[in-house]
Amino acid sequence: MSNGPLLQIRGVETFYGNIRALNGVNVDVNAGEIVTIIGANGAGKSTLMMTIFGSPRARAGQITFDGTDITNMPTHEIARLRIAQSPEGRRIFPRMTVLENLQMGASLDNLKYFDEDVEKVFTLFPRLKERITQRGGTLSGGEQQMLSIGRALMARPKLLLLDEPSLGLAPLIVKQIFEAIRELNKTQKLTVFLVEQNAFGALKLAHRGYVLVNGNVTMSGSGKDLLSNPEVRAAYLEGGRH
C-alpha cells in the first residue's frame, strides 16, 4: 500500500485519431472514497474510464494505481490488479447465459469464491437469479445493466468503475443501486469511481466530484459543495433529473 491516492490520474491526454478527447486530465481517487465525474454528452467521461484500462491508451500523462504505474500496462493485467468496470453500453456477452456472464466476472479467482459472491449479487439484484439460464443478449436493458454491475462486483474489485449505472433503469432500481453502492462503500470500504448523467443523485452519493467539460476538468470539490455551486446547478441540475 502506498500513501498516495489509490488511483492517480495526471495530465492524461487521449486521442481518437487526431481528435483529442482528453486534454490533460488530473483526477485522484482515494481508497475508501466514492468519486464521481459529471459532464455533458461527449465531454470525455467514458473515454476517461476506458483510458484507465489502457483502451484507448493515454498518449501523454500518467496513471498510477496503488503506487503502480499502469499507463502502459496491457488491459488484462490492469484488470488483474482488481480494477473492475461496468462499462458504457454494458457489454454483456450476448450468447452467454446470465450465470456464465457472472462466471466471467469471477475469472480472476478461477471461480474460487463464486458461490459466496453470486449470492451477494443475487441479494442485490434478485431479478438476475430468476433469469439465470437466460442468454445475456435477450435480457431487457435494465436487466443487462444489473448484470453488468453484478459481473463487475464478482471480480472482488479494489476499485469499481461504473459508467452511468442508472442508465435505462426505473427510478426505484436506481435508488436501490445507489443505496447498494453506498452500502458496499461503507461496509466493505469499496472504492468507487462513478460516471453519471444523473448529476443530482451522483453528487449526493459521492464524497467528491469532478466536472468534465470538453476533455478538461473545470471544477472539483466535495459532493455537497458542487451540489450547491451555482454554475454546476445551472449547467447540470436545473431542469435535470432531480
Binding site: F53, T75, P87, R91, F93, R95, M96
Partner: protein, 300 residues
Amino acid sequence: MQYFIQQLVNGLTLGAIYGLIAIGYTMVYGIVGMINFAHGDIFMVGAFVALIVFLILTSVFAGINVVLFLLIMMVVAMVMTSLYNWTIEKVAYRPLRGSFRLAPLITAIGMSIVLSNFVQVTQGPRNKPIPPLITEVYNVGGISISLKQLVIVVVTALLLAVFWYLVNKTALGRAQRACEQDRKMASLLGIDVDKTISITFIMGAALAAVAGTLYLMYYGVVSFSDGFVPGVKAFTAAVLGGIGSLPGAVIGGVLIGLIESLWSAYFSIDYKDVAAFSILAIVLIFLPSGILGRPEVEKV
C-alpha cells in the same frame, strides 16, 4: 441396399476426417473472424510429420504395437502442427489484427502457399506411401467395415465430445467464447486475449494433426498438395454446418463425405466435388447461416 450401406460407411469415414479439419476452421473463425486458409496445409503437414515419425519408428524398432505406433505418430504430429500454427498466428496474423478485413485473408492464402511449397521442397513433389498399418476388415451382413474406418469414426466422436466439453464447460472455453463475443470486454475482465487466441490456433492444429494421421493411415499415401482439396472441403463443411459451431463442423463434414461417396457410387466419380459444392450452395440459399449456425436473436 448393401451397396448403399457400404457407401454410407465409406462416406461417414471420409466425413469424419473432414469434420476434424473443419473444427479448426470453425474455432478460429469464431474467435478472430478470419478464415485460416493455411489450415488445410496444417493438416497436410500433420500427415507428413506422422509419415516421418512412422519411418523413423519402423527403422528403429521393428514390430512394436500398431496402436502405440499410431499414438506416437499422432502426438508428435500434434506437437509439430501446433508449433506451426502458433507461429503463423503470431508472425503473420496477429500484426494484422485490426487492419482491414481482407488483409489477414490474403496473408492466410500466402501462408498456405508457403507451407505447401516448403513441404514440396523438403519432401519432394511425389506421393509418399506407407505400408498398411491396420488391415483387419470385418464383414457385417455383406458389408465390409474395416478396422481403420472404425478407428476414424471412434476417434472423431471422442475428440468432438472432449472439445465440446472444453468449449462449453471449462474456464478456457468460456474465455474463448468471451473473446469471440466481445474481445474488449474480455480483456476488461482480466482475460489475456492474445493468449486465448493462440490456444485456439493450437487446438485447431492439434485436431488437424489427428485428421492428418488418420488420413495417412486410411489412404496410405500423402503428398504436398493434399492440403488443398481436403482443406477446401473441410472449410465447406464448416460453412455448411454453420461456421462457429463445433457440432456443426462435424455434421457438415459427414454430410460432405456422404454426398461425395454416394454421388461417386451412383452418378459420376468425376463430378463428386461439383455435387458437394452444389449442395452447399443450395443449403446456403435456404439456411444462410448453415445448419447449426447461430440464429440472430440478440438485441442490439
